[in-house]
C-alpha cells in the first residue's frame, strides 16, 4: 500500500471510529437527562434504572470516544504535518474552545457517574445536562474546524504565504452552520434509532417490557423528530455545497456534464473511465431544484472543473446515495411511528413497527459514515479546499502502511469488545434492575 493512501485510510478509519463514539457521547446524556428528570419527578424506580443502565453505556462509549479523540489530536500531526504547520494557527480557535468543552464534559461525567446518593439530586441531574451540553458544543466546534477545510476563511493566501490570519473569521466560516446543524441532527437520529431499536428488540423478546418500553419511548422521541428535521437541513446543505464546492456536488450526483436543467440521479453505476453513469433513475430538473431552488437552473458538471481537481466520483456518488436513501427510510419510519402513536396511543401491539425499529438499528450510523465520506472524499484532492492538496500535506515518514494495519487491528478489536460489553449489559438488565428498593449495584 502506498504511504499516501495508507495515511488517508488511517485518518478515515480513525475518524470513522471516533465519530460513532462521539455521537453517542453527544446524544445519550440528553436521553439520560429526560429519564433522570422523570425519576426525580415521578419517583418511579424504573426511570432511575433506565438512567443508570444508560449511564453505563455512556461511560463505556465516552471512554472510547475520549481516547480515540486524543488519538486524533495527535494524528493530525503524525499524518498531516504540513497541513497542521499552516492550518493550526488559522483553524485552531474551535479546537481551543473544544478543549474547554471536552474538559468540562469529563468533569461533569465524573460527577454524574459517581454522584448517585452523594450529591444534591438536582445538582446531580444538572451535571448530567452539562455532560450533554458540553458534548454537543464539542461536536459543533470540531465540525466548525472541519467546515473550515471545506470553506477556508480568515486568512489571505498570497505567493504560498498565509497572511492576515483571523482565527475568529476562520471559525465562523461559511460552512460551519450548515455542517454543524446537519451533524447534530444526524447524531440524534443515528443514536436515537440505534437505542430505540435495541429496546424494541427486547420488547419483542418480552423481556422486562416496562423498562424497555419506557426507554424506547424516550429514544424514539428524539430519533423521530430529528429524522423528520434532517431533510430540511440536508436541503440547506445541498444548496450550500452547490455554491461553495461545485466539484463536490457534481461528484455527489455523478454529473459529468454541465446541464440545464440537470436531472437528479437515483442509484446508477458510475464508470469513472468513460465518465458516464448507467442504470440510474433520472428525475428531470430535480437536481437543478435541489441545488439552486429552480427547476430550470444550470448545474455545473465536472467538465467545468480541471481534471486534476476532480474528487473520486464513484465513492462520493455511492456514499451520497446511501446517505439519502437511509435518511429517507428513517424519515418514513418516523412518520409511521407518529401515525401509529396518534391512532393507537401505544406501539406495543404493533409488532411490525417494532420490527422496523430493530431493522433500523444500524441505519443511522451507516448514513452518518456515508455522509462523512461524501464530505471528506468529495473535498479531495484538497485538504484545504482550493489551497492545499492532501498529497502535499502528508508526512515524509515512510512505512505508514504498517501504522495503518496496526491501528486497524486496534480499532477492530476495540469495536468487538464494546459490542461484547453492550451485549452483556443488556443481557444483565433483568438481574441488575429488579424493581425493588434494594439497589446493590454501584456500591
Amino acid at each position: 500500500m502506498d504511504d499516501f493512501l495508507a495515511a488517508r485510510s488511517q485518518m478515515a478509519l480513525s475518524l470513522g471510529f471516533h465519530i460513532i463514539y462521539a455521537c453517542i457521547g453527544m446524544v445519550m446524556p440528553f436521553f439520560m437527562a429526560v429519564s433522570h428528570y422523570k425519576w426525580l419527578k415521578t419517583n418511579n424506580e424504573v426511570y432511575k434504572h433506565i438512567t443508570k443502565a444508560w449511564s453505563k453505556g455512556v461511560a463505556i462509549f465516552f471512554a472510547t470516544g475520549a481516547v480515540s479523540g486524543t488519538m486524533l489530536s495527535f494524528e493530525l500531526g503524525l499524518l498531516w504535518p504540513k497541513f497542521m504547520e499552516h492550518a493550526g494557527p488559522i483553524f485552531g480557535m474551535p479546537f481551543s474552545l473544544e478543549g474547554t468543552a471536552f474538559f468540562i464534559e469529563a468533569i461533569a461525567l465524573g460527577f454524574f457517574l459517581y454522584g448517585w446518593d452523594k450529591l444534591n439530586k438536582w445538582f446531580h441531574w444538572f451535571t448530567g445536562v452539562v455532560v450533554g451540553v458540553s458534548g454537543l458544543a464539542s461536536g459543533i466546534l470540531v465540525v466548525a474546524a472541519n467546515a473550515w477545510m471545506n470553506s477556508p476563511a480568515g486568512f489571505e493566501y498570497v505567493n504560498g504565504q498565509y497572511t492576515n490570519i483571523d482565527p475568529i473569521k476562520a471559525m465562523f466560516n461559511d460552512a460551519w452552520f450548515t455542517q454543524a446543524l446537519h451533524m447534530c441532527l444526524a447524531a440524534f437520529t443515528a443514536t436515537g434509532f440505534a437505542v430505540a431499536g435495541v429496546h424494541a428488540l427486547m420488547i419483542l423478546k418480552k423481556q422486562h417490557t416496562d423498562f424497555h418500553y419506557k426507554s424506547f419511548k424516550i429514544a424514539a422521541a428524539f430519533a423521530t423528530v430529528a429524522a423528520l428535521l434532517q431533510p430540511i437541513s440536508g436541503d440547506i446543505s445541498a444548496k450550500d455545497v452547490a455554491q461553495r464546492q461545485p466539484a463536490k456536488l457534481a461528484a455527489m450526483e455523478a454529473l459529468y456534464k454541465t446541464e440545464k436543467p440537470a436531472p437528479l440521479l437515483i442509484g446508477g453505476i458510475v464508470d469513472e473511465k468513460n465518465k458516464s453513469v448507467s442504470k440510474a433513475i433520472e428525475i428531470p430538473g430535480a437536481l437543478s431544484f435541489l441545488a439552486h431552488g429552480d427547476f430550470k437552473a444550470e448545474v455545473k458538471g465536472l467538465d467545468q472543473i480541471p481534471e486534476n481537481e476532480h474528487p473520486p466520483v464513484a465513492i462520493t456518488h455511492y456514499a451520497f446515495q446511501i446517505m439519502v436513501g437511509l435518511g429517507t427510510i428513517m424519515m418514513v419510519i418516523s412518520v409511521t411511528y407518529f401515525i401509529v402513536l396518534w391512532r393507537r396511543k401505544t406501539v406495543l401491539n404493533s409488532k411490525w413497527l417494532l420490527k422496523l425499529f430493530v431493522f433500523a438499528i444500524p441505519l443511522g450510523y451507516i448514513a452518518l459514515e456515508a455522509g462523512w465520506t461524501v464530505t471528506e472524499v468529495g473535498r479531495q484532492p484538497w485538504i484545504i479546499y482550493g489551497i492545499m492538496r492532501t498529497r502535499d500535506a502528508v508526512t515524509p515518514m515512510p512505512g505508514i502502511a504498517w501504522s495503518f494495519y496496526l491501528f486497524s487491528a486496534i480499532y477492530f478489536s476495540l469495536s468487538l469488545i464494546v459490542i461484547f460489553l453492550l451485549y452483556r449489559q443488556i443481557k444483565m438488565v433483568p438481574v441488575l434492575y429488579q424493581s425493588s428498593n434494594t439497589d446493590s449495584w454501584n456500591k
Partner: protein, 334 residues
C-alpha cells in the same frame, strides 16, 4: 498574551505530569503489587481515581492544542521525528483508558477481568515510559532535520540512552506520585502501610533513574549540568527538590499523609523547573546545536490573542468545577 499562552502551556504540562502521572502511577503500583494484595490495591485505586481520571487526562489535550495552535512548528517537528514513540504512547493511552473503564463496566465479572487487568497495568507502565522518552528526545539534541536515512531520522531521534533514562525516571516518578496520593485515600492502616512501602521503593527507583539521567546526559553531551548546576534558578530548584526528599522520607516514616501530597507535588514541580528553566524559551534541541524556541515559532498575533482569551475564560469555567470534583470525591478518613 504571549506570556499567558506560555504560562498555560507550562501549567498544562505540569498538571498533566502531576495528575495524569499519579493516574498512570496507580497502574504501575498495581503492576508491582503481589497477587494477594492486588484486589485491595485495585479497590483503593478505583475509589480514588474513578471519578477524576478522565479529567486528569484532559491536561494532555490542552497542552497539545496549545502547541498546535500557538506553536505549530514545534508540534509538527515532534510529530514527524518522534512519530514512533508518539504512536506507541497513543496505543498506551487507548489501551489504558478503555481497559480501566471496561473492567468496571463489564456487567459479568468473569475471566475477562484478567484480560482488562493485564492490559491496564502494562499500558500504565508503557505510556509514561514513552511520554518520558518523548520529553527526553526533545531535549536530547538527537533530532536531525537533515537526516537522510530512516534510522537516523525516525529511530535514533528517540532511541538513545538519555531519552530512555528520562523515560524510566518519569515512570518511577509517576509510581511515586501515585503511591503518595493513594496513602491519603486508604481506609485501613494496613493498606496505608502497603502504600508507604510502595512509595519508598518508587522513590529509590526515581533516585537511581535520576542518576542515570545525569550519566547519560554526560555521555551524550546534553548540557544538563549547565541547566541545573550552573544556573541559579536551576540550582535552587534542584536543591529544594533534594531537601524536600529528606523531609519526605522523614514524614513517610512518621506516617503523616496529607502534607506528603503537597510535598511530593512540590518536589516534582521543582524537578521540572530545574530541567526547563535554563533551557527556556528553547523547546526542542536539534542535532548540530540548533534550537527551536517558543518565541521564534509562536503563531500570528491574532491567533495568540484569541487562544489566550480562550484559555483564560476556559480556565475560569474549568478550575472551580474541577476543584469541586476533587473536593467532593476525596475519601474521608474514618
Amino acid at each position: 498574551m504571549e506570556q499567558v499562552v506560555i504560562i498555560f502551556l507550562c501549567l498544562a504540562i505540569l498538571l498533566y505530569f502531576l495528575l495524569g502521572g499519579a493516574d498512570f502511577g496507580a497502574g504501575i503500583i498495581e503492576l508491582f503489587t503481589s497477587k494477594k494484595n492486588r484486589s485491595k490495591t485495585r479497590n483503593t485505586m478505583y475509589q480514588a481515581i474513578g471519578p477524576v481520571w478522565e479529567a486528569n487526562h484532559m491536561w494532555l489535550i490542552i497542552a497539545i492544542v496549545i502547541l498546535f495552535v500557538g506553536f505549530p512548528l514545534i508540534y509538527t517537528t515532534m510529530s514527524v521525528h518522534l512519530h514512533i514513540p508518539l504512536a506507541i504512547m497513543l496505543i498506551g493511552i487507548i489501551a489504558r483508558g478503555t481497559a480501566f473503564v471496561f473492567r468496571h463496566y463489564d456487567a459479568v465479572k468473569d475471566n475477562m477481568q484478567g484480560v482488562y487487568n493485564k492490559v491496564f497495568v502494562y499500558s500504565s507502565f508503557i505510556t509514561p515510559l514513552f511520554l518520558g522518552i518523548i520529553a527526553g528526545s526533545v531535549l536530547s539534541g538527537q533530532i536531525d532535520l537533515n537526516a537522510n536515512n530512516f534510522a537516523d531520522a525516525y529511530i535514533f531521534s528517540w532511541l538513545n540512552w538519555f531519552s530512555i533514562s528520562v523515560g524510566l525516571f518519569t515512570t518511577a516518578l509517576c509510581g511515586f506520585l501515585a503511591a503518595i496520593y493513594l496513602i491519603g485515600e486508604c481506609k485501613t492502616e494496613e493498606d496505608k502501610k502497603r502504600f508507604i512501602k510502595k512509595a519508598e521503593y518508587m522513590n529509590i527507583a526515581a533516585v537511581v533513574f535520576g542518576a542515570m539521567v545525569f550519566f547519560s546526559a554526560a555521555m551524550e553531551k546534553v548540557p544538563l549540568m549547565n541547566w541545573v548546576v550552573y544556573n541559579k534558578v536551576g540550582l535552587t530548584a534542584v536543591s529544594l527538590a533534594s531537601l524536600s526528599l529528606v523531609l519526605l522520607w522523614y514524614l513517610l516514616l512518621k506516617g503523616k499523609t496529607k502534607i506528603l501530597r503537597l510535598l511530593a507535588g512540590f518536589q516534582v514541580t521543582m524537578i521540572l523547573v530545574a530541567i526547563s528553566y535554563a533551557h527556556f524559551p528553547n523547546f526542542i534541541r536539534l542535532k548540530g546545536g540548533e534550537v527551536i524556541s517558543l518565541y521564534t515559532t509562536i503563531g500570528p498575533d491574532k491567533t495568540i490573542q484569541s487562544l489566550g482569551w480562550a484559555l483564560v475564560l476556559g480556565s475560569l469555567l474549568i478550575l472551580p468545577f474541577l476543584g469541586y470534583l476533587f473536593y467532593k470525591f476525596q475519601q474521608k478518613e474514618e
